[in-house]
Symmetry: none
Subunit: 218 residues, 2 copies
DNA sequence: CCAAATCTTAACCATTTCTTAACTGAAACG
DNA sequence: CGTTTCAGTTAAGAAATGGTTAAGATTTGG
């Protein structure tokens, strides 16, 4: 499921686009100002960005310059050829003038998502780095091969660093990967994980919180 | 120097565009009919195609369907949204309605050449080189003949070297070539591929990642 | 329309991973 | 201090996955 960031301060237009995208089964994240946009790009790393040029805070042109590897489609009421050409040359991949036709927007979104593979973003915490390949954990440069369940578990812990995850929550979160996993099975997986990590690190990374669940050691 | 193919039967428009592109230091090749276009695409393998839809011989829509990995910008007087959307979905990367502004055309050409540069990778890896003929893989000078499904599989693996591709993803990617392929069938194809490659190489190139998918051996 | 090439199906076995369950140790609590 | 409950470790067996092969179905090319 592809993730699209809508950067648009006009609430009604924003909602309109959002509804359209959700109907087409895209995951949508929102930003209503330039500064919020930069934050959301880093936090969510969307697959594609729809950008209105006139924004409070940082303006659209600045955002285009700061983003490198996510396709940006500019949606703008500015129809001057100078704007259009400049933004395309600066890094936008398309420029659609408002008002636009929904079908055309959707078609152009598909064009730019086509063939694009999701960016390789890595999760990390201290010496640990989880690669985006579903099976590798780095412990300070050393590659450890994980099973898909172990990968799912450490991924959730890394996504929630500094927080305790209850065992039920964790089981729920990994249920897509590993269906029939109960608490007993979970503690075996955690044990395996700690054993694998301890081969390359003196820290015991996964800590249990008595009666509640697990978290990464501080 | 990038090579652009202009497919346009109207001589005056054709010349206009050609002049514009040459001024911008592009190398230009010409086609004035659909059939000539197909011939020129094979002979010249241009980096980008500018395509007028209404052509003698094969029409533009057919050309779009036949071309896979060269970006096509449609230039058309047809302004109906249906045409626009259909052609974009069928494989065109952009659609500019005539009459158009020269600067916009140049900007959009740059956008799509830029995209292609990022995407375009050599289809080779260590001793392996995949020829562009849909059926030949070189293993250090030795030609191996592949079936179209085997070709599609190794192509996707080469396009995603250093990454694990899940079996579902792989099935999705080759579905255009081979429709009714399931996981069982896939593992047979992979087995055949490894067998063929192993005749000329001691490395086992296609590695399975247990429970996840496949990747090329590091 | 036939022969050859290719693809899918299914069975077999080897391997990896997961779960189960028993045992041991530690924390909470009266 | 002893009991209870939870956590960690371990090993064994169950289950799932991958590789190989061959047979039959389907497609392709002459």
């Amino acid at each position: 499921m592809k993730k699209i960031l809508i950067i648009e301060d006009d609430q009604s237009i924003h909602d309109l686009i959002k509804e359209l995208l959700i109907e087409e089964n895209y995951q949508v994240v929102d930003a209503f100002s330039g500064t919020e946009a930069i934050y959301m790009i880093q936090k969510e790393s969307p697959d594609l960005i729809l950008l209105d040029l006139m924004l409070p805070g940082l303006n659209g042109e600045e955002i285009i310059k700061q983003v490198n590897d996510i396709p940006i489609i500019v949606l703008s009421a500015k129809i001057s050829m100078k704007d259009k050409v400049e933004n395309l040359l600066n890094g936008a991949v398309d420029y659609i003038t408002k008002p636009f036709c929904n079908e055309e927007l959707l078609a152009r979104i598909k064009v730019h998502l086509r063939n694009r593979k999701k960016k390789n973003q890595e999760l990390s915490y201290k010496e640990l780095t989880l690669l985006n390949d579903n099976c590798t954990l780095l412990v300070s440069e050393n590659k450890i091969k994980l099973t898909k369940t172990e990968y799912a578990i450490i991924k959730q812990l890394l996504l929630n660093k500094n927080q305790v995850i209850s065992k039920n929550e964790l089981l729920e979160l990994i249920s897509e990967t590993t269906e029939d996993c109960d608490e007993n099975s979970l503690k075996v997986h955690i044990s395996h994980l700690n054993k694998k990590i301890s081969e390359y690190s003196s820290l015991k990374y996964i800590e249990s919180v008595w009666g509640i669940g697990y978290k990464l050691k501080e």
